[in-house]
């Protein structure tokens, strides 16, 4: 069973740590500049709302009205916060 880890205020939470079904807000992208830019263009820009649909080795997220598959190592570089403000 997947669980949200480190959900304490102030700690960084990456997309792999989010429970499937949770909606989060993108806080920061921590990847290579070209990858970051492509992520932003596909909707993963800072402040965007993302719902994690499926976790595992690779992830599926719902962003800007579409399902986008991401590798887990990329998802680790997407720092997010819960929409209630908790990170």
């Amino acid at each position: 069973m997947e669980t949200s880890k480190n959900r304490t205020e102030g700690d960084s939470l990456d997309l792999t740590q989010v429970v499937s079904g949770d909606e989060v807000r993108v806080r920061h992208l921590n990847c290579a500049p070209t990858t970051c830019q492509r992520l932003r263009e596909m909707g993963f820009c800072e402040n965007a709302l993302v719902t994690k649909i499926r976790g595992g080795a690779d992830l599926v997220c719902w962003v800007c009205g579409t399902r986008v598959a991401l590798s887990a190592r990329l998802a680790k570089q997407i720092l997010v916060e819960h929409v209630d403000g908790k990170s």
Binding site: E41, C64, R67, S71, L74
Partner: protein, 683 residues
Amino acid sequence: MSQDSPKRWIAVVGNPNAGKSTLFNALTGLRQRVGNYPGVTVEKHTGTAFTLHGEAVELIDLPGMYSMAARSPDEEIAVKVLRGESAGLPKPDAVLCVVDASNLERNLFLVTQVMELGLPVLVALNMVDVAEARGIRLHPDQLSEKLGVSFIPTQAHRGKGLVELRAALGQRLLKPGPRQWTMPPTLAVAVGQIASAWRQSEASELRAEGKALELLAGSNVGPDGARKLATAWRERFRKEAYDWSASVVHARYEYVRKMLGEAGIRSGKLGGTWTDWIDAVVLHPVAGWAVLVGMMLTLFVSIFSIAAYPMGWIDAAFVWIGGVMQGALSEGLFRDLLIDGILAGVGGVVIFLPQILILFFFLGLLEDSGYLARAAFLLDRVMHRVGLSGKSFIPLLSSYACAIPGIMATRTVEDPKDRLTTILVAPLMSCSARIPVYTTLLAAAVPVALVPVWGKAAAMLGLYVLGTGTAFILAWLFRKKLLGGGSPPLILELPPYRMPSFQTVSLRMWERAILFLRRAGTVILALSIVLWFLSSFPNTSADPTEKLAGSFAGQMGHGLEPILRPLGFDWRIGIGLVASLAAREVFVSTMSIVYHVGGEEEGLVTAMRSATWPDGALIYTPLTCLALLVFYVYALQCLSTVAVAKRETGGWKWPIFMLLYMTGLAYLAAWLVQVVGRALGFS
């Protein structure tokens, strides 16, 4: 528009999978390939459409793109056309943006960039039915008012909205007004200065700002002053660690969200759709693999079970034609040419058409349903281990049909090393041209009656797995050891599932059937005639075997036999291997001519099974058939693949490397099969 005025060129752009090619086909009456996965279109295509007033306009269908900052070769093609930098095409007079109405936020992000090209823009609000089914209420008039360009609702796949679109194309299209998204202050200063330096050559404010952003992003097309200024600002931003491009994306998205909110358009909600339910199974780490393997098995069982009936009919038709010719024509060279040359060569290959169509039927279902992107997702883990991303799997899967579209599809792969690696291993995926060879050799290896359908399907699947597995191992070798660098992360859009279109799937099968029959009627026919001549002259004996042995082809085969003997291949197989260098399926037609069997599949298999070495030992033992099968799994017997690899890699270096490594691998693997097989006691 006057009849004498030059034709207008209109570029059709949009996000991947927004329905551009479907709309392009609907407007032009052409049949560009469509499918339900991102990256179906990798090349520009042009076609003529007519406005409601009968004015002809040239539409340019472009590959999908997420932004004007191209990151892959297919996106570069689109951007170059839009900027008027594409060889052989004029700069477009206007742009038709096709947006997915169910995903407006991301689609309109691209529209804000396209508007900065300064060209008149028309927006086709496509897939409105999908959007409405997801509870999204669209307000095209409000969108038109807010963005300052016309929005026309369409359902391209059902032909709805085309009249309105044709009418709009015939009117004077609107040039976008001033920029509406708010540029961050620091960036605004830079863009203002660069735009002023550039605007000396052109006037539009929006275009000047768009050009300034292009120059800031690294474009070198523009006046010296503007370029120098852009370089200076870029350097300043770098020193200040200011990510200006991120702020632009952010600002555009903020504007689009605000604008959609003001227009009362909400994003679709997640959950409760067919796509969610199907994905719960097909993306499951265990069930997903079971579905994938189950589908592949179904494909191969169908290739043998369902195809057996039409193959029998074609076989009977060729036997009948042969009988008629035998009776109607008097004995002589002309009859020999028709029956032993043309009928044997062409008929020997045409008989496999039903199997190839079944393969394309299944691939069509996978492509049109939306499953293909899921398969890429499932395989990303495997692909990552060999140094590639799951995105490379789509070109590889396309190569099961034919390596040529597979290699072209690598244009969607962003990383150049990933793309080259994918090109190098794509021909290892067993293409449809191998089906005739595999089927014939499997039948020759084991009596047909002794093997149940599932056994044949499993053997065929084994050959596909061998090719695919080797492609993955070599991809690892090439990517990690030869080219170096890490594998890129997967970012892939998963489109919603849709019911495969009967028209799309059957059209693809029809086109493939025409292509296959055209090949049979041209390349294979010509090669069959040449081969008949080479195997009939000089006529040194009345005995067919001695006649063949003494012919030009026989002499060539005998010359090759010392090289082929370690693989268990005789001189007749040598003739087949050389003849099939141009195209693999020619092996079957060649062997039909070599063994004088007309167009019958059974006749060829029987002749092969009874062929012997001079000492009376059987040539086509199960071990030799296996060695020959392995040879064909690996060998690059396709000149068209070499040509397309040359075009896509920009030179001869890599195609020659591909030819050498695949031929060497084929020889080595076939030899190993013989050595290991004999050591284990097989003959």
